[in-house]
Symmetry: C2
């Protein structure tokens, strides 16, 4: 077979054409980039331009013979592609020209294509003779810069905390015996309290800095040390201390808050009962006011009405007990009362019974237990009385007359805990991702028979696809949780209903995301991921319960969906409901008008990567689900079906809406943040992460979008391909991306991560 030769002008483009045509993604907009470059390339003759352009016809791609000839020409040059070059492919092309001819000027048009098409080593490293990579990752981005962007204004707080956990007391180890483990964790909690971290969210006068947002950031970072530490810390300072701070008044703050922050007083948060998990309103423990003795009698009435899963139950001296407050024989609804559990000698007080919950799937360093009360009397002032009080004369009083509203106001003060749980889940996911990705950048498995080295796990497209979108999601969720905590802490807004709805949804999708991610990382590390020493196993066990505690995810998602339904009304009633319906109906019709067949089949990169498209898709889904949900409920209600039963009938619809709403929220928070990043380079990276997240999420619900006619087949397929493509494009930066999480080196104890 005679070898066809190419003129230098043509030759320099051949490696590019070879890459483009061996890839599945030759889109109109990409061809446009190449065409423009050729058009403006002054080194080319008119004939050469024509020749090159003729190879850009999607309808009539270059013949296979031509393609083989390109390959032959490249391979006969014996030139190696050096990945560490600034423009590896352009330089490679230039060198090939040098190999065949005398001259070889560097051509800026090629550089232009390389940059604009985002051609990455992964697009060609199976095609060419690539110089063995010494760097597993590109140094184009800087992990410290990324970490700084993520830390934002909490840089100092976070850095100091990461430094604090360098103390040998935090050295990770395998603990199989729960008593020993709990002792270690208690010491760690006390150590952090001494450093001031316990009181952090409390006012200055009680040893803190009033910094709830900072508290949330260190809470996430604590997961890098250990899950049990994080949860016990959260119980002591966030739940027990938080209930005193938020439900109590000055007398309680003065008496208990400082001691709580220093761990001089260890306490627990006794809300959940065996029989009434997520249904807090249904708890049965009673707190009956006895006027004669001016005391409140705490009592567990029956089997399964005991408190359960109460963290810190074995170490605590006191509990913040949630019970139905009965005054003058009237049930005033759920209130919290401080109840001493043990004396100075740590002996249980009369009438109090505590049982260890025993071993759990994870968090065995947390002393969860069951608590029973048998007519335990406490002084009247132990009632945390911010929202409801018993007067001197023995009568109940509250500024919030509506018992329903009172209940939700009290519970609303605890929403911060839910944000922290999501935050901790995210920390766990980040840690697992960092370990799995560092392992995949070291571990080799299988190879081409002609290569000596096996391929890196991270170079497998399937491995990129299973991990990269999860990394992108971690970025999106951190920014989202930062934002929602900021809104929650904004005291200028007293109505917290909106943020409660948001947190209910976000806590659910993020803790599920965390579990799925940790599981994917476990499997991605094979047998090594199964060994406790590599940390993922513990993360899996610890984070698992996050989907259930602080509100079961399925219950919370329904709460979020109901919040969306009643967004514009302060209370969900049938009058308000129909006006919501009307409003939704109008808006939806307006929006739907924009979906036409051209839009639903638009597949060019500019469109698919455009945040406007993503936002439109998410918005469309949320609105459409809200509208159809409202219509279904209305039709049931019209038929006389009680609303409780109507809601049961639409339960799966509610869950879908709750998720859709939360994804939309997260993406919007992230894009808002991204646009504020000042330097172009990092902003572009964050945009790419946002795009990957958006397309990945749209892809998950592709069947719905297709059913609705919002996506056409071609567009749906194009989105799938773009998710794969973006995952591959981020391959050179994947290590920087997980380093950007800023997990301290001393916490990365997993042997496989080194």
């Amino acid at each position: 077979m005679e070898k066809k030769t190419y003129a230098p002008g043509i030759l320099q483009y051949i490696p590019f054409f070879y890459v483009i045509w061996s890839d599945d993604l030759v889109s109109a907009s990409e061809i446009n980039v190449v065409e423009k470059a050729i058009e403006t390339d002054e080194s080319l003759t008119k004939e050469e331009k024509e020749q090159l352009k003729s190879w850009l016809n999607v309808e009539q791609p270059p013949a296979n013979e031509e393609f083989k000839n390109w390959k032959q020409t490249i391979s006969n040059s014996n030139i190696k592609l050096i990945e560490s070059e600034t423009y590896p492919l352009s330089t490679f092309s230039q060198k090939i020209v040098c190999a065949y001819f005398d001259t070889c000027p560097f051509n800026d048009s090629l550089k232009h294509i390389e940059i604009n098409l985002g051609i990455q080593p992964n697009h060609y490293n199976h095609l060419f003779n690539v110089e063995v990579q010494h760097e597993l990752t590109s140094d184009f981005y800087d992990a410290n810069e990324i970490d700084s962007i993520l830390k934002g204004k909490y840089s100092k707080t976070i850095d100091a905390f990461r430094d604090a956990v360098k103390d040998p007391i935090f050295k990770w180890d395998i603990h199989r015996n729960k008593e020993d483990f709990r002792t270690v964790v208690l010491k760690q909690v006390q150590f952090l309290a001494e450093k001031g971290y316990g009181a952090m969210a409390y006012p200055k006068e009680y040893g803190g800095t009033g910094d709830m947002e900072g508290y949330a950031t260190i809470f996430e970072n604590m997961m890098y040390v250990d899950g049990s530490l994080t949860i016990k810390f959260g119980v002591q300072f966030g739940l027990f201390g938080g209930s005193i701070q938020k439900l109590g008044t000055k007398k309680h703050h003065d008496k208990y808050l400082k001691k709580t922050g220093t761990t001089a007083l260890l306490g627990c948060f006794a809300m959940t009962e065996t029989g009434h998990g997520s249904n807090v309103r249904g708890i049965k423990t009673t707190a009956t006011y006895d006027k004669d003795s001016d005391t409140i009698v705490i009592h567990t009435p029956g089997t399964n009405d005991n408190k359960e899963y109460i963290g810190n139950a074995l170490h605590s001296k006191m509990a913040s007990v949630f019970a139905k407050l009965i005054v003058d024989g009237k049930n005033e609804g759920v209130h919290a009362i401080l109840v001493p559990l043990r004396d100075e000698a740590h002996e249980l007080l009369p009438g109090v019974r505590v049982e260890d919950n025993g071993y759990k799937l994870g968090l065995n360093g947390v002393d969860n237990g069951k608590i029973w009360f048998d007519q335990v009397r406490v002084p009247r002032e132990n009632l945390l009385n911010k929202y409801g009080d018993i007067n001197e004369d023995g009568h109940y009083h509250s500024d919030i007359k509506n018992p329903n509203k009172r209940f939700f106001t009290m519970l609303g003060t605890l929403v911060g805990g839910r944000i922290c749980v999501a935050r901790a889940g995210l920390g766990g996911a980040k840690m697992a991702l960092a370990i799995a990705i560092k392992h995949a950048l070291k571990r080799r498995q299988f190879n081409d028979s002609i290569k000596i080295q096996e391929d890196l796990l991270m170079d497998y497209p399937s491995h990129q696809l299973r991990l990269t979108p999860l990394v992108a999601s971690a970025y999106v969720y951190q920014i989202t949780l930062d934002k929602v905590m900021k809104v929650y802490c904004d005291d200028s807004k007293s109505d917290k209903r909106m943020v409660e709805t948001q947190v209910a949804g976000l806590k659910s999708i993020i803790t599920w995301y965390a579990n799925d991610t940790i599981q994917e990382c476990r499997e991605a590390c094979g047998g090594k991921g199964y060994l406790i020493e590599n940390r993922i196993a513990d993360l899996k066990g610890d984070v698992d319960i996050f989907t259930t505690f602080e509100g079961d995810n399925n219950v919370l998602l329904q709460l979020a969906a109901k919040g969306v339904l009643s967004n514009f009304k302060s209370e969900f009633n049938s009058a308000g409901f129909s006006s919501v319906l009307k409003l939704l109906g109008t808006q939806l019709t307006d929006k739907l008008a924009t979906i036409n067949p051209v839009y639903s089949n638009k597949v060019d990169k500019e469109h698919l990567y455009n945040p406007k498209f993503h936002k439109h898709a998410f918005d469309h889904r949320t609105r459409r689900l809200t509208y159809t949900l409202a219509m279904r409920i209305r039709s049931y209600v019209k038929k006389g079906i009680p609303s409780y039963q109507a809601f049961l009938k639409v339960q799966t619809h509610l869950l879908a809406l709750g998720k859709a709403y939360s994804v939309q929220l997260a993406y919007e928070a992230f894009t808002e943040f991204t646009e504020q990043i000042s330097d172009n380079k990092n902003r572009d990276l964050f945009r790419k992460l946002g795009t990957l997240y958006a397309l990945y999420e749209i892809r998950k619900d592709a069947s719905w979008y297709l059913e609705q006619g919002y996506l056409g087949s071609t567009k749906s397929k194009a989105i799938r391909q773009r998710v794969e493509r973006l995952s591959t494009e981020l391959r050179p930066h994947i290590e920087i991306l997980v380093d950007g999480f800023g997990i301290p080196e001393h916490c990365m104890s997993a042997p496989i991560a080194h």
Copy 2:
């Protein structure tokens, strides 16, 4: 408001119309059932028939006023619906007529509707005043009958085994210390060996019954006792013993097999190396034949070439070591050699080093370890020489000349282990489902404000949807694994390639299913599911690794897909490949011709529940994926891209095909089985389970079917609704369905299951 009254003829139908119209699923075929019943109802006048039929118009449903009036009429009758009646709704209707009029004959037309529409308590128990259910489950089906169907010809074997594990030695307990746990598990293994279970799959002359199929069934049942027991048992008898039985010859059988079956000889299966997990062909341990001493020298050449995760490593006296056999300086490929590890005093022999793998996420009762060999010499006869031998004169000989084929033949003999792993995963899933469902039939949470009792978890539609399809899948997968093991054991078929492909795919989808199911059950049990005492936590930790060991699922799925591609050729080469392509092309074109818009939007129940539709859908997906995959690879190969790289480019496509193929296989095995069930009642139940499985699986891939135009929007939505509907219809039988798994009462130690 004046009350509208109805004549008796009309009135008797009103509860039915009320149920039908308050449900979302009024389809043409259902209306047809009601119309027919009315038509043939001789108790009705012509006018009454007209009136009733006018309420069956989907285009113009009954007015809301009419609907409310029905409700009022029913409710004013003060009649309670008694669930335990044979035909609850028909009887209820009859009684309402009695309440308003003097006569009330039982009407068979109503019964006809009740049966044919499959109206179940769940369709009306929120609508009417239902007599409090004392029975949580219907007694229409019999758990023992179902269990018998599942046990099939292994009834005796399984019953005897379930009886054997009643011994107190198998009493489940929490084990935190691995040494103690391993001691317990070892004793359990020895106990089972004494009873003959260890040798079960070996020939009679070595203490067995040659019953590999029976072995697989008890293997699944062993999971009800404990995961560590199951795996250690499998290592000793299935892997170590299996390698002697299948790779060795008579001299090895005579010397070792009986001792292995009785545990007089404890052994391990040393295949996996730290550096070469799923790439068995890439293992580095060498077995070099030294002619002078007539011995084989076993050696671990470098770092990461040690054996790892080897079960039984700490208790074993001997290992079946997989190593590259080098004879006359030539690498003859991977072979297994028996290598003594320890002496009678259990001291390690010279040159052997063993390290404990330490604590793991689960299976801590199995002593996994790492093993290094430093020039360890064993006699030549220790080579397991069935497929390759070293002659007396020191030369290598094998009947299988092609080293590739030899390798796969040896590995193929171990495919039984993969079936057993899937089987064990399934056992774990069944156990978790039984616990979660029994809990959901006891646990109440939230309620209607007017009801005193909270609702049972199992009565929530979302709970039904999350668990019921998983129960159906368990039935499908058990039947499938029974069948594939039967084919594997059929000695009349010597070419095991097809069954290997099938097992690779099935092991992957079933172990993933098992993990997802156990996780869903954990969450469905809330905090209780997190406690070790409730067993799900351990199942989660134990079953997790099943996705990775005996072949990583992602690797196996690619193997399955490649098997599908080369289905018609004994070896995958480019000549064979193009003929496969051609064949696939033709068949696909034929098949595709049948998909037309009417088909892709057919939504009647008869069609959606028809196995022909399910099979067609699965077949279409497998063929289409195969065809497009083959086309993509061919186009890459034509372009001169080496096949290794071409396969990398289509990796995600391969995974999709592997899954699709496996689902199709499972469904076909199940329907084949179902049609052989002799009694109608149980056959109908199994058909329903098969339908739920099929629709659930089609639903999972709905985006693909929609993209392909195979499903239209309406049909896709109808499938989703049918999955929910079937999950609800099975609610009354859900306890019987999990009881049908036959998990012995003494193994159901989880407190929440009682």
